[in-house]
């Protein structure tokens, strides 16, 4: 057993778990954060993506013990108090989801992608960056549209903030 302690969605949590417990299972079963999903056994589908210390990672491919001491954001905490994060809002507006199972991982990947490309995104980049997230419903068409739209909104928001700061 390991004692595990980290900050999830702004809240410090701790608990004990078998060393073999994956981060995704700790989030789902110990913390009740069932928004992160498990869709494959081979770390390829991306339904489990969360942010650990600011980076998108597959929570099915990391032990909870490995993450101890880290700061974690899951789909449940992405909006950080707001009604919806801009990426969540864009997925809704552009019909970027159907069954919703891959959606949390898609949104967490998309948010990380947009954060890493403050200069903006084009369709080819978005498609390449979605390599590790599989969706069976949408054919990706509207997911790509939603991410491009969110990227624009977020760059406007950050430009606005920069202006305010200046």
């Amino acid at each position: 057993m390991s004692d595990i302690s980290f900050v999830v969605n702004g809240r410090r949590v701790s608990g004990a778990a078998e060393d073999r417990t994956l981060l995704v299972h700790f989030l789902r079963e110990n913390l009740g954060l069932t928004g992160s999903h498990v869709g494959c056994d081979t770390s390829q589908c991306g339904a489990c993506v969360v942010h650990v210390d600011g980076k998108a990672v597959k929570s099915c491919t990391m032990l909870a013990a490995q993450a101890s001491g880290s700061t974690i954001v899951t789909i449940e905490g992405l909006a950080n108090g707001a009604d919806l994060h801009p990426v969540q809002a864009a997925f809704k507006e552009h019909h970027g989801l159907q069954c919703g199972f891959c959606t949390p991982g898609m949104i967490m990947t998309a948010t990380d992608m947009i954060n890493r490309h403050p200069e903006g995104l084009d369709e080819a980049t978005v498609r390449a960056e979605l390599e590790g997230n599989i969706c069976r419903c949408t054919g990706y068409h509207n997911i790509v549209k939603a991410i491009l739209a969110a990227s624009k909104t977020m760059s406007k928001v950050s430009k606005g903030k920069a202006k305010q700061a200046a």
């Binding site: 589908c45 069954c99 919703g100 054919g139 549209k145």
Partner: protein, 783 residues
């Protein structure tokens, strides 16, 4: 059109929970005292079970129960069934072998469930599952349907001699033979429709809970049709009578057909819950899904089409071998027969058709309906034939199709179906325009300068949806009726609940169904709740598949709304002291036409429940139920065009553009319809380029994870150009045809026609992976 009414692009009501991580899927459900199950599965494709020793497993940490098929049988749990009777052409009924939910004497495919282990944690259940000792005597296996009927092939079920389940035909053999005698040209092809694994992103799961005090069972399951699950588990599997069995399909993460069927795991979890006294949850991992979800397609076909000297079609002969796997899944017999061969007339006038289908057992996973179900197989045969014929004749593929299109309706085909409405030329024209078909030659020349092979291909598909008229399918062997139910409850404050037997697992019913109500009564969709997926809430329903939720499910709602409207108008007329016939509903109020007298919707509703002032003899309340049974299938159709560039050095295909022009009849929410088409096309392109289940000769599935089974990813696909040109369906009140499967049906032949056009060889199998295309190019160059 109201902003939330029929035809509006309304953002989905259900999205909020999914985008915030608050969706509730079966694996998210927790019941106090719940424990976890793992199944011990056969590692062999074909073997006798000599001995099962569970002693070691029972002694493992955390283990609560280890249960076998013998105990299941002893408790009277029934075998799994196929619910559609097919008779062979000699009149004999199909030969269905026994499928025990837990195998006890023999295993017939890799993944066959043998033992269930229940333990405190999932990890402990799996540890103990590995400790179960099963002694097998391995038998020779056969995975290829064409070899399974050979002399000396392993016999899989004693009931089905030579592994032949049925030998069925449709159409008229004599007329067809006569047509071929008159033919100026005959086009012949051998066509393989590759086996696919549905791969809904949410793996199958079940949570069974037996409440001893109440003698009542609850099953949470990943189902497209919880009522059918309850019916079958009650009537055939003897789990519990219907009044003591509640089935809940909460949020379900995609189905595509694979979650229609009632699998061993859900009923074994229910049974195991009673045996062990704890709620039992099982969640498949992805490899279990690959091994045991019902697969799709897997046809081997020889087809011949006869033409006269003017290139008019005279007749069609089709011989198909359908691999049904090791057991007959719930609708496995209908898929390669009435959902396949009845569509072999395509969009064309064909005077004579004869099709023969042999259904065959093999030592592979059961095969059943997967998005499109039979219709993609039929479309692939027809549209490969048409394209090949055009190439052989040296004529334009578009003009050959146009010349043979059905243009007057209703049109009775020689294979049962009666097409009610359509305009096939309109879709063809729209697709050709959207793809700039005329400019293709220039683009091909430009690609050639870069060393790339550019090709274009089309596919004109038709499907039969809105399944289905109950009496008609009953006469063809269906064990169930295929109507749908609806209940509309107007609350005292005017808000509305719609209970439906349809099930949403991505289709957006919570939005589109509410749009219907908004259109009718002007109530905002936020005041309309759609209730589905729970047998305790909705009395009965047939579920969602076969693109039926619009044409059948919504038609039932319309019928119930009609009844609500009639009663509401009576109440309003009484309150307004007007004639019932003068009442109209507008902007959320019931008005006397041509006057300013009105009563708001909520006041009328309140009046229905206070019952202080109702018309004489009227019962209080406002709640109506309807069952809708369609009078015919619906016939969505369309034209898809695909343009590709092939890199001859590597065989890589890039889809440059993909155009879809569909006729879905009337549309409730175009945004959702487009989403359905996008997803369908991606699955069709997946079949054509990427996906294929591959067994080795010993029956091991080589493509049992995403490491070896290629799922379409964002980078494999382009953005799609989709449009509709609609002819309303005359057969249902909304004029809807259905849109859920079209993309998967129409796209594979368009892709393969494009690649074969590019590489100059017609000899190309699916999936057309880079190595397959490279080999096909090399075969041409060697010639």
């Amino acid at each position: 059109m109201a902003i939330e009414g029929v035809g509006a692009r309304v953002a989905r009501k259900e999205d909020k929970r999914f985008i915030t991580g608050a969706g509730r899927y079966v694996d998210d459900m927790v019941v106090p005292g719940m424990k976890h199950a793992a199944f011990v599965r056969s590692p062999h494709a074909h073997a006798q079970i000599k001995k099962i020793d569970v002693k070691k497993a029972q002694a493992m940490p955390g283990v609560i129960g280890v249960l076998t098929g013998k105990e299941l049988k002893a408790d009277g749990i029934g075998n799994l069934i196929c619910g559609w009777m097919i008779h062979s052409k000699d009149g004999s009924p199909m030969k269905m072998g026994a499928w025990s939910p837990l195998a006890f004497d023999k295993v017939r495919y890799v993944g066959d469930a043998v033992v269930i282990v229940v333990a405190e944690t999932k990890g402990q259940a799996r540890d103990a599952a590995e400790a179960v000792e099963i002694t097998y005597k391995e038998l020779k296996a056969v995975v290829d349907a064409s070899k399974a009927m050979d002399k000396g092939a392993p016999q899989i079920h004693p009931e089905a001699e030579n592994n032949l389940i049925f030998d069925w035909d449709i159409g008229n053999a004599d007329d067809t033979a006569a047509a071929f005698k008159k033919a100026a040209h005959v086009v012949k092809m051998d066509i393989i429709n590759n086996r696919l694994v549905p791969n809904a992103m949410e793996p199958r799961a079940a949570l069974g809970h037996y409440d001893k005090a109440e003698d009542h069972y609850t099953c949470w399951t990943t189902s497209q049709n919880p009522h059918v699950a309850r019916l079958v588990m009650s009537a055939f599997y003897n789990v519990a009578p219907e009044n003591k069995l509640r089935v809940i399909a909460p949020d379900v993460g995609g189905g595509f057909g694979s979650k229609i069927y009632i699998y061993p795991e859900e009923l074994v979890c229910l049974w195991a819950s009673k045996k062990t006294g704890v709620p039992v949850k099982w969640v498949a991992d992805r490899t279990e899904s690959f091994l045991t979800d019902a697969h799709g397609r897997d046809h081997h076909t020889h087809a011949e089409m006869a033409f006269d000297k003017d290139h008019k079609i005279l007749g069609l002969k089709v011989e198909t071998q359908a691999n049904l796997g090791a057991y007959m899944s719930l609708f496995s017999s209908a898929t390669p027969t009435y959902l396949y061969a009845t569509l072999l007339s395509g969009q064309y006038n064909i005077p004579a058709i004869h099709a023969n289908v042999k259904a065959i057992y093999t030592n592979t996973a059961p095969v059943d309906a997967y998005r499109g179900a039979g219709r993609p197989e039929a479309t692939f045969v027809m549209e490969r034939l048409m394209e090949t014929a055009a190439r052989q004749f040296g004529v334009s593929p578009a003009e050959l199709r146009r010349k043979n299109f059905v243009t007057s309706f209703p049109h009775q085909t020689p294979v049962i179906m009666c097409y009610d409405a359509g305009d096939y030329a309109a879709s063809l024209d729209a697709a050709m325009k959207a793809s700039d078909y005329a400019g293709f030659a220039k683009r091909k020349a430009a690609a050639a300068k870069k060393g790339l092979l550019r090709g274009i291909g089309m596919s004109c598909y038709i499907e039969a949806c809105g399944i289905a008229p109950s009496a008609a399918v009953g006469s063809l062997g269906a064990g169930v009726g295929l109507w749908e139910s609806a209940e509309v409850r107007v609350n005292a404050v005017g808000t509305i609940e719609v209970l439906t037997g349809s099930h949403s697992h991505g289709q957006g019913h919570e939005t589109t169904f509410a749009q219907l109500v908004n259109e009718r009564f002007g109530v905002p969709i936020d005041s309309v709740s759609i209730v589905h997926g729970d047998t305790d809430k909705v009395q009965m329903g047939m579920g969602t598949y076969g693109s039926r939720s619009g044409a059948v499910g919504m038609s039932a709602i319309v019928k119930a709304l009609d009844k609500v409207e009639a009663k509401a108008k009576k109440i309003a007329a009484h309150l307004l002291e007007a004639d019932e016939g003068d009442i109209i509903i507008e902007n959320g109020a019931l008005k006397v036409a041509g006057t300013d007298k009105n009563v708001p919707w909520f006041q009328m509703a309140l009046a229905a429940y206070t019952a202080h002032n109702l018309p004489g003899g009227m019962e209080p309340g406002l709640k109506e139920t309807a069952f809708y049974d369609p009078s015919n299938f619906t016939f969505p159709a369309g034209c898809y065009i695909c343009e590709v560039e092939v890199d001859p050095e590597t065989g890589t295909t890039e889809i440059i553009q993909f155009v879809a022009a569909d006729d879905f009849g009337n549309i409730i929410n175009p945004m959702i319809v487009e989403g359905q088409v996008h997803g369908g096309i991606a699955q069709g392109i997946g079949q054509a380029l990427l996906e294929g289940a591959h067994y080795d000769d010993s029956g091991q599935l080589l493509t049992a994870s995403y490491m070896d089974y290629t799922m379409p990813r964002a980078g494999d696909l382009p953005s799609f150009k989709v449009s509709t040109s609609n002819t309303p369906c005359p057969g249902n009140p909304l004029g809807i045809k259905g849109c859920g499967e079209a993309g998967a049906i129409g796209s594979p032949p368009a892709v393969i026609n494009a690649i074969t056009d590019a590489i100059g060889s017609n000899d190309l199998g699916m999936p057309a992976s880079p190595s397959t295309v490279w080999a096909a190019i090399r075969a041409v160059t060697k010639h």
